[in-house]
Amino acid sequence: MGVAREAVEVVGELAARFPGLELTVQPTADEIPTLWIAAERAREVIAHLKTEAAMTYPMLYDLTAIDERERSHREGQPASDFTVVYHLLSLEHNRDVRLKVALLGETPTLPTITGVFPAAAWYEREVWDLFGVGFDGLPVRPRLLMPPWWEGHPLRKESTGRGTERGRLTMSSERAAEWQEMLAFRPEDWGLEELAADPEVMFLNVGPQHGGTHGVVHIAVGLRSEEIVSCVVQIGYHHRAAEKMGERQTWHTFIPYTDRVDYLGGVVNNLAYLMSAERLAGLEVPERAQVIRVMLSELYRINSHLLFYGTFAQDIGALSPVFYMFSDRERIHDITTAITGARMHPGWFRLGGVADDLPDGWQELIRDLIDYLTPRLDEYDALVLGSRITRARTKGIGALDTATAIEWGVTGPNLRAGGLEWDFRKKRPYSGYERFEFEVPIADGGDSYDRVWVRSQEIRQSLRIIAQCLEQMPDGPIKSHQPLAAPPIKEPGTMHHIETLIDHFLGVSWGPVIPPGEACLGIEATKGNNGYYLVSDGTESAYRSRIRSPSFPHLQVLPLMAEHLMVPDLITILGSIDFVMADVDR
């Protein structure tokens, strides 16, 4: 853990620009420059970093908070009860900067930064919702993830982590009616009184249950005839407290929960979590395990993209593709079942490696899949993308230029559709991606058609990577022998010495104790950048496990894309941005 060169540069520049600004540098395991600044200066410093600095950081990658009141290892950090963390990203220079603001008191407040980053709105609402930290000047401030009748703020340490620790919930019919009433859309809550008074405007509730929304999300659109004049997205229906569970489960037992965050991504979630956790634990993953991880990740990427492709076609009215693609996915599930024992949620990666070695005959399965799928993809492209009706429905619909996409935190295929060749597998290779040859497909329009086209090409590139895994699979161990690898490897002599036996027993029952520190290493997940910002306090579980998911910012930018289009276009856009609600709500 050290202070990186980048940190020195940023500190130097900020000190020169803002004389008298108090700056504390905090060393972190991920070596991202982490600076503590005063709450009242945060807005101007962030504005400076976004547009004026020598090296600008135009993307708000993440904004979250930490309840510091029970944390023991805070050496060298300013006193704080609640810390708000801003994570900015520069794609141009491939650099990060993390700003922290220390807040004292039970319900502190600080100024909003929505004036600088409009994308901060959802993040700040989420911090208020889950921590009770208020943002002055936030235009609308209802809860984001928790229901309106919720009392308290669940990610505060005093809030219980299990349903059984709360009182018994009784659902009388009066209460059900009252709660349902609270969920209704009221234009005045969103500053839409003017539209509501217009007799030409009708508000239409798309969702929470609707065939075109891919999960439970409530989109209240204001329509003038069929033109969309306002669009309010309400999320939280799929919130399952994944971050709170991360504080409850041990480092090892949290792995299967991550599968369910982007439930189409399977082990890709495991990988995102483990990248940060292994960095904190200082674990080196053996080469064979890395290649196995890459191979499985790409299989799940194909699966996610295929499902996207099929359901997208269904959203614009084509009935058949989804059936073909579901059968293809089943073939891939057959392979993942043979390797991991599970279809969608294997929870199969481990701290320091993977759970098991590959089964006999895995090469045949992979080879068959590549032979089968490659020609099928051309047929799908002809059927879906080749159709003139599809082009008429998608070209120019919901276009997002690169600058706007970056500003709103859009990553992954949605960003590449606009023409920026940015793939974390290439730009920040992890898990040995640098050893594989593959291309990063980009389009130039950033519209719905391009978003689909980019993904259809990525499936081919994933097949290429899998073919290389097949040829280059190295021999060797599949898990690290380091002490913090979990569950620990049972050597022939382990059970014969009391020391090694106790060590093994504790490693299995309690799980590893990871040294104090912080890390966030984002990876190229199926839908964009997924990063776990983990804070360890030197115990067997995470002190804070923040999940930065790609779908969250992608859905937040929806109103911008759907403006002045029609209801069918809204559905096209929803289908083309490829989100899953579990990944949005966590």
Binding site: L204, N205, G211, A313, I389, A392, R393, P568, G575
Partner: protein
Amino acid sequence: MSEAACHALGLAGFGALATAAWATVLYDLVIVLVVLVGVLSIAAGLTWFERRLLSFFQDRLGPNRVGPAGLLQPLADMVKMFFKEDWIPPFADPALFVLAPAIIIVSVLLAFVVVPVTGSFVIADLNIGLLFFLAMSSLGVYSVALAGWSSASKYSVIGGLRAAAQMMSYEVFMGLALTGVVLLSGSFDLNRIVAGQRGLWYVVPQLPGFLVFLLAGFAEMRRIPFDLVEAESELVAGYRTEYSGMKSGMFLVGEYLGMTLISALIVTIYFGGWLGPGLPGFVWFLIKIFIFIAFFILVRATLPRPRYDQLMDLGWKILLPLCLVNLAVTGAIILAVQR
């Protein structure tokens, strides 16, 4: 023959004539029953046929459990639908809500009156048969528009509005597309139109007209690619969102009746109706109809759905000029030949 006519001819032979009149009525009734039962069974059978065929297009099996090859599935579906709660939403207009699904069935069934199954097997050989068909299919709009409007829910209203605009527009192109055939055959009588195709099916000289009629047929049937009135990924179920049980089932049957009707009309007007070598006329008629029904199902399995405004653009900017050109060219050629 009426009784008044018998009186006019004198009492002599009254008994024989009355018997003959009764026989005619009886014969007509039999034809009506055969057509009614036949058409309704085809519509019911289509629920099975479409699901099976779609399944094969989509790499699946489809309903194959009830009876041999799943043939009794329509029966099971009907029983299910009859036992569903017959619910009218409290915010709906109950009278129109109930009337709407009846209109679609009645109007489509009435249109079958003029369809010649063979040269002699037709309920009413009207000399304005084509106009009668157009009039009846126009009535179908009322069903869909009223269903959407009387449901008083937002999705239904949008679906109903789309339906009214779509079906009224495509009615125009449908009528104009048929005028070419009327010019060629010199009649609105469907039997004479069929008879006029003994040498050559009208699809050959009237290809543009046929294509326009086909597209308009898709719009009239409200099927993919022109199913915008119930586009399930956008409008839940469009105009029939609030319908359940047998009332919803009647819209479904109405859709299949409509598909059968359009197929029958295409066959009659452009593909020589019941004409064909060897086999009896009605067999040829059924074979041709089923080829078109299968085609409609294949299209449903293949194409996505255009946007609403694109559908209207296609109609007014492409199909309408095409119809008019077709009409003018056909007329000019006929005039030239006559001279």
